[in-house]
Amino acid sequence: MNVIVNDEQHRLEDGTTVGQLISRLALTPRRVAVERNRELVPRATYDRTVLKDGDQIEIVTLVGGG
């Protein structure tokens, strides 16, 4: 299946969870937050949130700002 992560296409195996996506991207889980189709995915549910083909994912972190 294909999902869009921060506007980029990613090809993933069926059944991939949000938790697996984060580790595949080599991100530090406590430094990111995730939205799936514009809805927040709470950290506690990463491992049971299974992605679907066409999902739009936002992965964000904190940066400098005023």
Partner: protein, 274 residues
Amino acid sequence: MAENALRIAGFSFSSRLFVGTGKYASYEVMQQALAASGCEVITVAVRRERLYDEQDRSLLDFIDTDKYTILPNTAGCFTADDAVRCARLGRELLEGMGNPGAGWVKLEVLADTKTLLPDPIGTLEACQTLVGEGFTVLVYSTDDPVMARRLKAAGAASVMPAGSPIGSGQGVLNPNAIRIILEDLKEGDPDYPIIVDAGVGTASDVTVAMELGADGVLLNTGVAHAKQPVHMAAAMKHAITAGRLAYISGRIPKKLYATASSPLEGTIAPTRSS
């Protein structure tokens, strides 16, 4: 010192200066400037992952999250919906780090990229939604007293009127509007916090805001883009103290004519011209 702590919805801070973490030449300069400013609250933005500096480093490597209370903003959001999503993401990030700032948000809903002025209607709408979701909302606003009143009524923990547009360095352009906001929102509620946010160009701008009776000042560019950001951060710290003490002390009224400081009696005999 005859100065109380700043209290905002359960938080208590001895510094009344909030400093942003954007636009510094390097993370090292930012770190030193934050330390020199004496601030306890720093603002951050929420952005897509993989925004590292040139050396592939993250802001989070340079912030002591045990020392600072982090106030996540919704900068860059131009609709109420986007600002609400951004606030939720910020809360999730700070909860993950165990930072006390997880429950609060600096709400900005901006009108356009040129003026960066707040969109009043979107701001009010997002404020209502976020208060309903249990956020402690510190809301960036125009200096319109009626808008400020509406935002307080919507449950904002602090209204933060702009001194002048973001990053413009014009200082407090309409002190009378700030005075009306202070008088109006603090009537019967003297501890309600008003923080002047945006537009600070130099230390005297901070002092002006504090002398008017603001509870604090939030700034970023005035320090980050100063030629010597670390020195300017120290200047801002002193400006907060000077302005606060002057406000508490009570300034003398302005008068048209002079009033002598030295006694007029007992002066020596005037020289006679021969």
